[in-house]
Amino acid sequence: MTMTDDQVLSQEHRVFQQTMRRFFDKAVPESYVRDFYEGEAGFDPAMWRRLDAEFGLPGLAVPEEFGGSGAGLIELVLVMEEMGRCLLPSPFLGSAGLATSVLLRLGDTEVNTCLVPRLVSSGDFAALAVTVSSGDWSEDAVSVRAEGGGDDTFRLSGTVRFVLDGDLAPLLLVAARTTSGISLFEVEPDARGLDRQRARSLDPTRRLATVVMHDVDGRLVGHEGTAWPAIRRGLDDAALLLAAEQVGAAERCMDLSVEYARTRHQFGRPIGSFQAIKHKCADMLLRVESARSAVYAAAFALDQANPQASRAVDVAAAYSGDAFSWVAKEMIQVHGGIGFTWEHPAHWYFRRATSSAALFGSATARRRRIAAALGMPC
């Protein structure tokens, strides 16, 4: 049922973690995020370049032979925790987390040598269009159709919603159904018949788009009809990274709540001396550390290609999503009226939590998979 090896962070991991913490503390203060709420700031190319130039983050988990740093998911997890902590608005999850992962998992030499390096250090990033309006991230739900023209060029039609950075990404990848199954296509951003609309996100720091295609030219990526296993596994990777982001964000909510509880006085004493508040904070700690344990365990499982890894991801994702939502809501309660203002960052976390709970499938959907994996009859 579970893995027995001791799986803990090494000393190098901890140093890396501290480096990331220091960088984001400085580079992404509250005022940085506030601009995404107040202005029209949508994407910060300078920040994206810095992530690459200073740490090679976009290619962190890409094998060295394809231009990356050859790290594992566990390192990506540590990065995502820090990005979640400061709520960095970034194409990182959609591009480095999801699209790159799917491309790598295709295991196709041409893809690895032509497309993947583009996402490592050219300043480009990718969007993967795979969901449908039902929000169901499963194979059956892929509704874009691709009609073949004999060579590698197909014509794609259909609508995909909730595409991370889909209106901006220089590299647009689309999962579509051909006569032989699910296939992956590259679509030129300025292709005829393509319409990309930025959606009004509940969480303005999470950029989402609707991509509409009418007979749009698409170039086959990898082999026709065989893309689903790679997409499925890439979605697992991305779900785990999202869970890591949720851990980091939840921990920040806890830290803010604890700090406020220490300093805000009522009835002549700090509100943190009231047990109703104290116990909420203790429960935040319980959820944060539990979620973190599950996320690390799943990352190690994926990195070691453990056969139970997919289930471990379901567990981590289901738990972390619920945990972050709970902590974000209780943060508002601990803060009282100030927590309900536009001014205070509490709602940024509440929005991120609510929106993330639906990205890559809900906790309920994860639990449906867990029940099936436990051998319960369907």
Binding site: M1, T2, M3, T4, D6, Q7, V8, M254, V258, A261, R262, R269, P270, G272, S273, Q275, I277, K278, H279, C281, A282, D283, L285, L286, E289, S290, A291, S293, A294, Y296, A297, A312, D314, V315, A316, A318, Y319, T364, R366, R367, R368, I370, A371, L374, G375, M376, P377, C378
Partner: protein, 400 residues
């Protein structure tokens, strides 16, 4: 004669050793006929003792195995996995709590005298901390020990003392000076039970069993040298003891609860509820919680094995598991439906397990017993409220 175990191959060696001793088709101690369990456990304890597997991490000079905490944890895991207990029901108090505390605080004479007797099963121990007016607020306790010549004289009352009815000795947290400060002026006194000044009155538990007691001390005596640690340092010694309790729990509970979870799945199947969407979600939630806590436990366990200081997550283990188990028992009772109104079969669990014996039949009695017992999980060893206070104050730094 006790054999030598090697750390490098310990897991494989001990796994093979255990497998060789158990009968073919072994399903767990719970699958034995009820009348055979006691005899089996007694014999099994002898086997472990002969093999040098009791007190594995204790120095050899005191009858231990001379290995480290890491192997001790591996052994506990392998025993749990093989569905056999690590000793007799009263052993945890002596072997997992008092023993390591003696090693840390005891004088040479105390170690040489008490440790081998614990391993040989000659001394059974019980824990005398709680009092009628001092439970969560242990620092307010009022049992006194007064030195007079060669002896300490103990007066006062302890309560909820598990296994006192079978114990030979009790470790008592008692006041030894008049200092008013709660945590000073206490000593950790070892008192023999078999004397006129000690009276044990059983208390029937909510489950109907009699496993805890009141213990009255009326001019009870113990020899002058039977104080563990310095006189006045009793609080510190007691805290050491409680931390040993926690680390053992972190290692063995996940395995016990994984086995229990398999029984829950079997219950779902027997009740024909596997297709019910709500039940599936509840089961998946329980599984999620179980594996999250197992991961949390592994993080803590790894810190202990590597000899490092446990991180802040170790403080969460007791709180997390007790509430998980309380909720799981309620889920099982829900799944039983009307069967939960009638006690069929025997009513587990029995010491030292908190889940039912592994391999026990899946009867309503088994789950009803688990439900009843689970209400104590969130009380013993510091209530959930106290655990939350500790997390908030000592880990997060909130004001008292």
């Amino acid at each position: 004669m006790s054999r030598e175990w090697r750390a490098s191959t310990f897991r494989e060696d001990v796994r093979a050793f255990i497998a060789r001793l158990l009968p073919r088709g072994w399903k767990g101690v719970g699958a034995l006929p009820v009348g055979d369990v006691d005899a089996f456990v007694t014999q099994w304890r002898d086997t472990l003792a002969t093999a040098g597997l009791l007190g594995l991490s204790w120095p050899r000079e005191y009858g231990g195995g001379g290995l480290s905490h890491a192997e001790e944890i591996v052994l506990a895991e392998e025993l749990a996995r093989a569905k056999v207990p690590g000793g007799a029901p009263w052993d945890p108090m002596g072997m997992q709590m008092l023993g390591p505390t003696l090693l840390e605080w005891g004088s040479e004479a105390q170690k040489a005298h008490f440790l081998p007797r614990i391993l040989r099963g000659e001394d059974r121990w019980c824990q005398g901390f709680s009092e009628p007016d001092s439970g969560s607020d242990l620092g307010s306790l009022s049992t006194r020990a007064v030195a007079d010549g060669e002896f300490w004289h103990v007066d006062g009352q302890k309560v909820w003392t598990s296994s006192a009815q079978v114990a030979d000795w009790i470790f008592v947290l008692a006041r030894t000076s008049r200092e008013e400060s709660a945590h000073h002026g206490m000593s950790f006194v070892l008192v023999p039970m078999d004397q006129p000044g000690v009276e044990v009155r059983p208390i029937t538990m909510l489950s109907g069993e009699r496993e805890f007691n009141e213990v009255f001390f009326t001019d009870a005596v113990t020899h002058r040298e039977n104080v563990l640690g310095p006189v006045g340092a009793g609080w510190k010694v007691a805290m050491t003891l409680l931390s040993y309790e926690r680390s053992h729990v972190a290692a063995t509970l996940p395995i016990q609860y994984e086995q229990e979870f398999e029984r829950l799945l079997a219950l779902v199947e027997r009740r024909g509820l596997g297709r019910d969407a709500l039940v599936r979600d509840q089961i998946a939630q329980a599984y999620t919680q179980l594996s999250v806590l197992a991961s949390l436990g592994r993080r803590v366990k790894a810190q202990i094995s590597q000899g490092g200081p446990p991180g802040r997550e170790s403080q969460l283990i007791k709180l997390a598991w007790s509430e998980y188990h309380r909720d799981l028992a309620e889920l099982a009772i829900n799944l039983l439906g009307p069967e939960a109104m009638v006690v069929e079969g025997r009513q587990g669990p029995f010491l030292p397990y908190t889940a039912d014996y592994p391999g026990a039949p899946i009867s309503s009695g088994a789950w009803i017993g688990t439900l009843l017992h689970s209400r104590s999980d969130t009380l013993v060893g510091g209530t959930s409220e106290i655990q939350r206070n500790i997390c908030a104050e000592r880990v997060l730094g909130l004001p008292r």
